[in-house]
Amino acid sequence: MTQPPKGARRSYGVKAAPYGFLLPAGVLFVLFFALPIGYALWLSFHKVQIKGLGLGKGAKTEVWAGLENYTSALTDSELLGSALRVLGYGAIVVPVMLGLALFFALLLDSERVRARSFARLAIFLPYAVPGVIAAVLWGFLYLPDVSPFLFLLDKFGLPQPDLMDGGPLYLAMSNIAVWGGTGFNMIVIYTALRSLPAEVYEAAKLDGCSELQIALRIKIPMVVPSLVLTFFFSIIATLQVFNEPMTLKPLTNGIPSTWSPLMKVYSDAFTGGNIYAASATAVVLALATFALSFALLRISNRRTTQGATR
């Protein structure tokens, strides 16, 4: 191996190196992220024009649509309805799931806990069950004629709410998400708790702090960044809810084909065969998610910075 001459070559190599390291990630980013998004954008500004009955060869041509798909997406009452439904669903899922996750994490982290690793696994396990399987499982448990819950209620002469309809449907659907998601969030918070320095607790105990006070005054404030993170994940997951309502849909009259915004996109693209309108709706949805996430991140960042300077 001959040494390259010192000087120009080397400095050139050093300058180029970072770009070389960036290249694999850059290529993957362009291929699997930027390009599909660009394509979706391109589609969203087009539509199909049909000549005649639309059955013959060449009867369908793609033409420029301008903002037509966007205006119809934004004025679509079904999309608005689905967004409102999902917001209602999120208003149940996010607080309940994160509350439970924090509660379990604190319990597991407390000193007197027994069978810690078993409990941790048991709480985490539902997360390993795929969403569709979970929905099928719960769906059968909810269905009036086969549900063991309703069977018991019936045996005791209690009223049997239709869990697949109206208000109870939100609870039923939220329950699936909470059951599946609590474990994951619990692990995130629990990991943060385990990484807190033990001296803090010692000092607190010397000052006469009870376990409860330690939890409320020390542990929770110190895992706020993890809470923000899990909150953030949960919001995104909520806005993208699809598996559960889609799987439950055939079991009930209570879930329309556009229950959640993603189902609306799916229905436009695959039932209606209108991939252009679906792309526009998807772009709108992505922008809304982005705006919401960004706003939340700004708020939480401000909080954390304040906490640090205090």
Partner: protein, 437 residues
Amino acid sequence: MPHITRRSLAAATAVLLGATALTACGSSDSGDEGGAASGPVSLTYWAWAPGMDKVAALWNAEHPDIQVTVQKQASGDDLVTKIITATKAHKGPDLVQAEYQALPTLVSNDALADIAPEVQGAKDKFAPGIWQQTTFGGEAVYALPQDSGPLMFFYREDLFKQYGLTVPTTWDEFAETARALKKKAPKKALTTFSANDAGLFAGLSQQAGAKWWTFEGDTWKVGIEDAATKKVTDFWGGLVAEGAVDNQPMYTPAWNKALNTGEQLAWVSAVWAPGTLTTAAPDTKGKWAMAPLPQWNKGETATGSWGGSSTAVTTDSKHKAAAAKFATWLNTDPKALEALVKESGIYPAATAAQTSGALAQAPAFFPNQADFYTRAAEIAKTTAPAAWGPNVNVAYTSFKDEFGKAAKAKSGFDAALAKVQTTTVADLSKQGFEVAK
């Protein structure tokens, strides 16, 4: 339909992704028949008919050079969606089972290949009305008819006797029977109005004389809210509103249980019902009987059809000739048809098979009704014609949403029907079709 003929359905449109650079990967052109000579050809077949794998096994045993693998699918328009999606990705199977009403949609999405040259001579084996649904009246052949699904009335013979009910011959009598049963056994129901399969509703409307999609020149006309369909919606909306029939969807575990335990005494269904009942209500074997569909006016004999399907070769298939050969065997060979009747409980579309030995025996689930298929053949002759268009799945999805809502609210179906009509028309014009307002 001269217009369609002129425009040549032979090669249907390249849609959506067709013009874009991204489709460069793996677009399969028609015409590459490679592989037929070298080594065995393997074909995949998407079908939902129960026992289709056993019928394919018969073929596989006799034809080592063409091996068919059946991949079981969900029935109805879920499969249509899946085929269209697969076609866009150029990952379609070789053969698909497709309901007649889905054919225009599939053809307008360039999913089905024209197999006219491969299936010459098959035409005479089917009734003209059925054959027409696979060709739209043109020269191209997009599928081979497999089964037809004339609507009939299925009821629990034992329970009808137990509650002193008579088999209704008109829809008025049907309503009376439902009410009489509710009076005698409030926890039971004659049947359910299910909003999760629009096919049944389409068939009922067809019986009443509805024509949902028609065209004149280049303009489609949607007649979902016509007088005939309104008659049907008023009838069922009324029954649901007064609580004479149930309002829960079909094909759920709850529905299976209701049929299996006799909570529901009857099912307005098609000739293929024995197959479904075998899996849905296994404990009720021999307790069901079949009668003609109730009529709107006494003395009439008309029925609609629910589903009924065909075997189509996709544009993605690299072995068009082999696939067409299998499709022809499957739907015209006496041995295949006998197996289809036995294993899948289908009612063959091939005319000869309807009166052949294959149907001499009643379905295994109906041992008590020896003349099942003799009566079925009589009923099948009275099937009213069907009229399908290029966005049946949109109308069907809208039906599920709107009628699901209305059935839940028990508020009558008029508004729901109006919504299905406007949604279907709006979708056609949004897709760029010319639609008469």
